[in-house]
Symmetry: C2
Subunit: 241 residues, 2 copies
């Protein structure tokens, strides 16, 4: 942490909890220390970040913090403005996404890229990431894996995308992870069970780190015997060997 006292501007990438009421369980001592020392924040969602900092009871008066929102997409003028704020700040800056790791399936990468160009030191901190947790819990190979982001919304395109992921798995052996907006989970599950062959293993990992966490890996044929209901529950899907 000694860098916080030097002149090199620092941008910390700070992971945040994935589930309600887990902040004291899943945030590292290092994250707590960094949050305590940081006057400048770039947040996917200001309200969520304020609530998190407040719930950690760090003795910080939230209104004294300088907080900016990470618009999607972040326009070039904003990036220049934000980089300028980091360079001129008297302390380090933190980037926070709404849940999980900033920059992964979440905004932030453009600001990091600009930070590198400007010589700002970028320091990612270890913490909760739903793709990593799903992969660890799936039982699928973690020697090679792809996170494919969100599936297409259009049913026909979605069905084709699932087939493409399956073909990629068969061709390369690379574990394929993907996600969906939680209110569409059940329709994706229906589509997966229709499109994938009965012998294919499918992992459905929901409410990761939360009280309702459930991570199960079964053959498609077995999932069909009791189709799970994951409506509105944050979920990562994976197919693997």
């Amino acid at each position: 942490m000694s860098d916080t006292q030097t002149q090199v501007p620092i941008l910390y990438m700070v992971p945040t909890p994935l589930a309600e009421d887990t902040h004291f369980a899943v945030l590292t001592p290092q994250i707590i220390e960094v949050l305590k020392s940081c006057p400048l924040f770039f947040c996917e969602n200001l309200r969520t970040s304020r609530r998190l900092i407040s719930s950690l009871k760090l003795g910080i008066v939230i209104d004294t913090l300088e907080m900016h929102e990470l618009d999607k997409p972040l326009v070039p003028a904003k990036i220049i403005e934000y980089i300028d704020r980091i360079v001129k700040s008297k302390g380090p800056a933190c980037m926070l996404s709404e849940a999980g790791c900033p920059g992964i399936a979440d905004p932030g990468a453009e600001l990091v890229a600009a930070a590198h160009k400007r010589g700002i030191k970028v320091v990612p901190l270890a913490g909760p990431n739903s793709m990593t947790l799903a992969l660890m819990g799936s039982g699928f190979s973690g020697q090679r894996y792809t996170f494919n982001g969100y599936l297409p919304i259009d049913p026909e395109k979605r069905s084709k995308a699932i087939t493409a992921l399956y073909n990629e798995l068969k061709r390369t052996g690379t574990t394929q992870l993907f996600m969906e907006t939680p209110f569409r989970n059940n329709s994706v599950i229906k589509e997966l069970l229709k499109t994938l062959p009965p012998e294919q293993l499918l992992c459905i990992a929901s409410d990761l780190t939360g009280k309702g966490e459930v991570i199960e890996t079964h053959k498609v044929a077995d999932w069909k015997l009791a189709v799970p209901d994951r409506h509105k529950i944050p979920t990562i899907f994976a197919i693997g060997l």
Copy 2:
């Protein structure tokens, strides 16, 4: 943690530090709690795991723990034996890799797959993962990414593999991450600078979470002006847009 008191057998997937003397900084309170309550361990490296548990000063007498090594590969007879130990254990089991997340670029997935089949609850915990940290720190898109594991050792095959990763990036826009045995880092860096086009961005992320952490993203042409020395330093490489 209340599940530890029930009859459902549990296998915790426990991330461990990536760098020396960081255990009190990067391990979550949840990990500490789980390690305290666990009588049964499956470890990539027994010595490393014993040293870690000892350094955490949990008040545990290491010799009272049942510890097994995760051979590579884990033969079917061992998997059956280990699953049996988990089912019969009076407390939860933990899987630990030498550094980072068990099952990701490390052994363990076969035991998790067998655990799912036997109805053991698999609970992955949040913690340090070098690929996730490198991706967050790179400034490359985290909307879609592939971790490709280790590059081939043979120079000709390695050169072809680098070209294939570059073509995949250009075709799909998916950020490509990969690694190398640390004592071959410098020869991979040389190969990357020779094979990739001058305008391509390359991230080299070394000693993640450690005192010597350095994460830099530059164009290949700029890297060539000052070729970095990363001999024997654990490093993740990434190319992206």
